[in-house]
Symmetry: D3
Subunit: 308 residues, 6 copies
């Protein structure tokens, strides 16, 4: 191939990729001065929140009683500034033909929501303290609750969930989802911010856990890696599209334990104090105190070195 | 222990680790001027590709129609330079006794492959647009296709797969595998670049999904987290080693849905329009329109607080 | 809302979050000069260790025989300095009322442990070489053992495990756990550093694998993604808390293969040369040479577009 | 000293530093949403401008004729966004009691000024090309004009000056000064952005050069390191403060050369084609074609090893 | 040249550079656990100090009266930790054969000095406020004292000087010198930390200013770029080495102005209210109210295009 | 102004800036695979060289005799790789119409030069040790030679000079100039790499020093800040351009001291053991043992507050 061909072929592809019919369905148009949500800044926000909620574990804040308020003061103020902008970006994400007045109103709303959210932080910290306690008490391998806070991926995932859930309650679009996907990528635990989860919640190991948007989970619930609390089917509208917003995920009552890889689908109820064994496929409700396990395995004749 | 002992003991270990018999089986020798693939640069390449394919979502490119071609132009040119070097590094990875002429030929081949790959980008973008559409239509929790592109890990994993697949078609060694492992680490979704996957493909949640090298997946297929499309057994050669390159993974026909944690192994066919329930172990073919679920669970007597 | 309200409300929340009763159960107090473990530094340590064990794959060390000892020398010395401090931080993590003499003793112990650990590196490298060999031989998709070292997440996870295991043997607190969680986050593979694992160990794909603290795994064992080797129940003490330190995870003998998503719980033994099929729930021992698979699936009548 | 004293003494100092009477005269109050100029961003802006003006020298833009417009397009668009914000920050710097309407007007003005400035770039490039030519022709040590652009600090300083001067013409406060101080710190050359300087201007070596705010410099002027074109005295107002804005620096006509360390002060004129020798102290006008040097040195009796 | 020669020749040079006789006079031996001063950390320290002294100008601290104490609190605490370590490193810099007890004593001393220094900050801020005022009042080009703080290199240099001077008073070795060299590199202004300088001190432009170790400068002094207040000769000891610690630099009394490039050497006194013209060489004392300028220049016959 | 005007006006300016007649005289064309010199990499190279020459001062290399060779080994190997590429880039800088064969020859030449340069390092270290000694002995303010190496800008500038000089001797284009400009920017000391400078050379304070390309400086010479050793006039060729390569800078013989701001121009000789006073303008030779000072100042009647 002739070297002179290169620029020509590159140029041709660039032109093709720049045609509106090529990019129009996968392109996000944002207007000047209309901020985009930023994963990097949301990462900073989550770090700040972890630092505020669990003083002395993250960041470089020492925890002398004499100085803790300086650090919390600075972190809360930084949080206020960064989060306000991201919420504003979230509020603008799908506003394609806005005028200035409208943008200013969204900006004000973002400030108000941010403040409302910050006022929830003491309560979020309180809830997370129960989750830490549950993880520590329930895991014979845990040496201390400090180790739980410092190392356990479940605490990171549940922290992000509790933050994202509160933001969603305050009607922030998009941002809660990004925050929960950040925890999903970090821990393999995927909790939809719309799910409702009680106190003393714990997840062991956690990789592959999925908790759907309309789940309701009681207090003192423990689930293991690979557990799905999902939807079984979506009622379709007259155009054949799934109807949005219908309750379609399980209700898990207080004190339930669900073992690894169990899949529970649909608006079914797992009664209080039940134990669901691993790898079970469950699409019906079970009463309180149930103990469910998979049908017993069978023996089989295999062939081949690595085969089954 | 005497402090003077430290340098002596460190030195002894360093010498032991520097002996050829210690490192020879785990050491990669690369010659001067022979480039190594770089995860960091491949990360930049994937970012550039995401930015090119989905303008306005990643990076800082605004998407005024007037300026989009500048951004695509710069990104495609940067891509050409970075990817050419990585492909060259891939082509050199296992060439241990090369001469200069041979290296130059590989360099030329890398340039040619890079250009061929770039010319596929409009088509890759088109395919990914169908995947985005499928994810949006099929998920009642999705607010917009913008949210799908911005947040859904499946889109990231499928993007990396479609890139890596195209590179493998162009006979690039190693690099496609690294690109798919990057998505695997980020999303928990492990799609072998050699697999063949139709349009409107979607994965929900996705953590733990495995799609093997010789899989053939039709159009409009949807799979959930934890699904394995794997190999059941590997025919061995006369030395007892698995024979490489044999078709050993499932064929999944159009419009199939596979629920969470199902494991489908071997060169079996899942017929069109089938639905495979969660946690199923399937090692035989099923005809079109099949609806398969796990044998019903049983009740069991448990003991202990946290036991099963 | 009045703009003057903002500072007032922020201030009030800051004060609430700074009250001892709010933070006391989730706060880590560390004293001046008492170092905190650092994830960032532990990340550097793992990178150094990978670079030392697998020369030429990570970092920028070329592998001319003439110069390899310089690189190993520098990396081992850096490792000594960084690891010593992190082990010291680990030894101090829960020492809340120490005096200076006590801190100095911990510092000396940290130095001694670090040196003992470094002297194990040749042996760790030797074991990892067997794991690489097993992965290469057992995977028809692997092109070379170089590809295995460079790309396979299992090698990263097993490397971190073998490092963390050795540190735990040397009675280092906390640090081994952080190192294994780093691999967990990166690969989805969660191996407790206390588990005992033989040579030629391999994990395919790996996302969702969990190997518990008291597991004993023989030689030439291969497991697939989503496999759990976990605890079934925890004996409780008289206060209703799980008793810590009891053997509660499976024993897997030599040459066993366990397929995707199988869940094996409790102190059961999987006899040598057995094959456990995917998605099996196994809570009893099986003799050598067993071939276990899930009960056959059943057909079911589904409704709905996306339903099951 | 007792260890308990530390927190107490730190706290006391913190309180003292936080008292309004301590900080009021050295504190900058900026209101929420009122941006501060950022040295870091202004650094990026200068880099972008250098990259736009001198394609192929800075940044990573290749200069194939086919692709240069992509790079200039992207860089100009980035410049527009970044500079607009910094100019806005400059316009807000001293507005302590603004309302929203006022801020929006400043924002619009910033956008307008930025665009006006960008339209001057072709002319700025043209002027700088004459400066490069003058430096190359006038320096026997210069190998090529490429070397001049790539290495000569004077080109960096004059580039910043020509940018800052244009911004000042457009009535941007503060930002021009920061841009000229950036060059001052990098090169030791301190040109006030208000000075007026003709084409083909060149400075050799440059460290210590000072060119005051009301200087007027003709075409084809060359000055050496350490030259000061400064003010001799400042007329005072009735309160004894210097009156601002009066012409108080020299006029240097065409084709003048001024050698190292010469100090020329006051509103004097150095006539065309003059040469001013080094280390001269000049506070009066000199006619065209003047050749001025310092009074001849004298011999002196010194004592001591290192003495004079 | 044969390619095999390269490793051999590199190895030979490495061995030569590693011989003790080659490196002994230019090598710094530091013992394990003996910290080295770090330019990077000292840079952070200077940034913190600037942020504490001038709230709202540096860093990201807003300056709402309600929150300023949080920021000062956090910055002072960070300063305490970082500076303590650097002072400790300074105290250890030349201690080649120390024992542990000795190191601990230096560590305690470092903590004590750091605290003493921090208690001087209110006073340092007060002095710097006078310097800012002097620069603003004395420069017709200055728009506001905010511009002076934000842009003027002299303020940066004098800030570093006042910090370094205080540390030297507290007998910290090495660190003050590094801090003043940092300002020297940034601004071209070289003030020895041992010099004594009164309030309302200002330097205009500043590049090339040198103020020697034993200078005594009164109040309300203003000096211009290139001014040297240096030593004329050093009395030698009997071995011919300069005697250290002798007063050898000028005394400049109150209200003196010294113009650009003046060189004043030796223990001479410039009397109060004097004005020293530029480029003057002065090695004798002058009485109060003196007005000194260089001998008048002369005219000269030049030849050549660029010549003098 | 209408908002729709913005994109239009930006686009027009971009087009203007992208026209060949606009950029042609200030644009550097570099061909694909033709490397550009990189200031960032040259910065790393200088850091490596400082670390190799002065072990224990820069970087993180400890200096236990047992381990120093590892660090020097790694640093020299890194230097070989980085410097080879930069020299190659330098050799290609002005080769606009090269073919591949030509590029390969330049690459080989770069490797050979790099190796030749590295073999000079022991000698460069030896020379720099004499410079350190001279600075320590000659400065009453210096506490130790360690302080000199760690803090004195002159050592940094002279180190860069000695490196750049050696590279120029080996006929490397451009790179030596960039290295000396890096020191110029950092220290204000501008030594042309072509100058020839003997051992025990020292510069005090240094800001503003200029040493021209054809200077010859003997041993044991000391110069102060602001000293220029420059060219007086450039003979012109018949086209009126300065003739390049002619000896045009001073010769300074052994044991000379030159005080601050002295300007010595032209191919004159300052005889051995001479002392040149500050602010002198010297354009003729002076014999050995000369003591030269500026003509005595005069008194003058000034007016105005800040005037002269």
């Amino acid at each position: 191939m002739n070297y002179l061909e290169y620029p020509k072929r590159l140029k041709a592809t660039i032109e093709q990729l720049s045609r509106e019919e090529s990019y129009q369905s996968v392109c996000h148009r944002h207007y000047p001065d209309q901020p985009m949500p930023s994963s990097r800044v949301l990462g900073e926000i989550v770090d700040l929140l972890r630092e505020i909620v669990f003083p002395g574990y993250y960041g470089d804040s020492p925890t002398r009683p004499a100085s803790i308020s300086y650090y919390i003061g600075v972190n809360v103020e930084k949080l206020y500034d960064l989060l306000r902008q991201q919420i504003y970006a979230g509020l603008c994400f799908d506003c394609h033909h806005t005028n200035r007045e409208d943008l200013l109103q969204r900006k004000d709303r973002a400030a108000k929501i941010t403040l409302d959210f910050i006022e929830k932080l003491p309560q979020i910290r309180h809830l997370l303290a129960t989750d830490v306690e549950a993880a520590y008490v329930g895991d014979p391998a845990a040496q201390s609750s400090a180790e739980v806070i410092f190392c356990y991926p479940a605490i990171r995932a549940i922290t992000n969930y509790r933050i994202a859930h509160e933001l969603l309650q305050l009607k922030v679009p998009l941002i809660p989802r990004i925050i929960s996907e950040m925890a999903h990528s970090e821990t393999g635990i995927d909790i939809h911010p719309r799910a409702s989860i009680g106190h003393h919640f714990t997840i062991d190991h956690g990789t592959g856990v999925v908790i759907g948007a309309t789940c309701i989970i009681g207090n003192h619930v423990k689930i293991y890696q690979g557990v799905t609390l999902g939807a079984k089917s979506f009622p379709l509208d007259e155009d054949g599209n799934p109807i949005k917003g219908i309750d379609r995920h399980p209700i898990v009552e207080d004190n339930v334990i669900i073992y690894a890889q169990a899949t529970i689908l649909g608006r079914v109820t797992v009664g209080a104090n039940s134990v669901i064994g691993g790898n079970v496929w469950l699409t019906t409700s079970v009463p309180p105190e149930s103990k469910i396990i998979q049908e017993k395995y069978r023996h089989s004749g295999f062939v081949g070195g690595d085969g089954i």
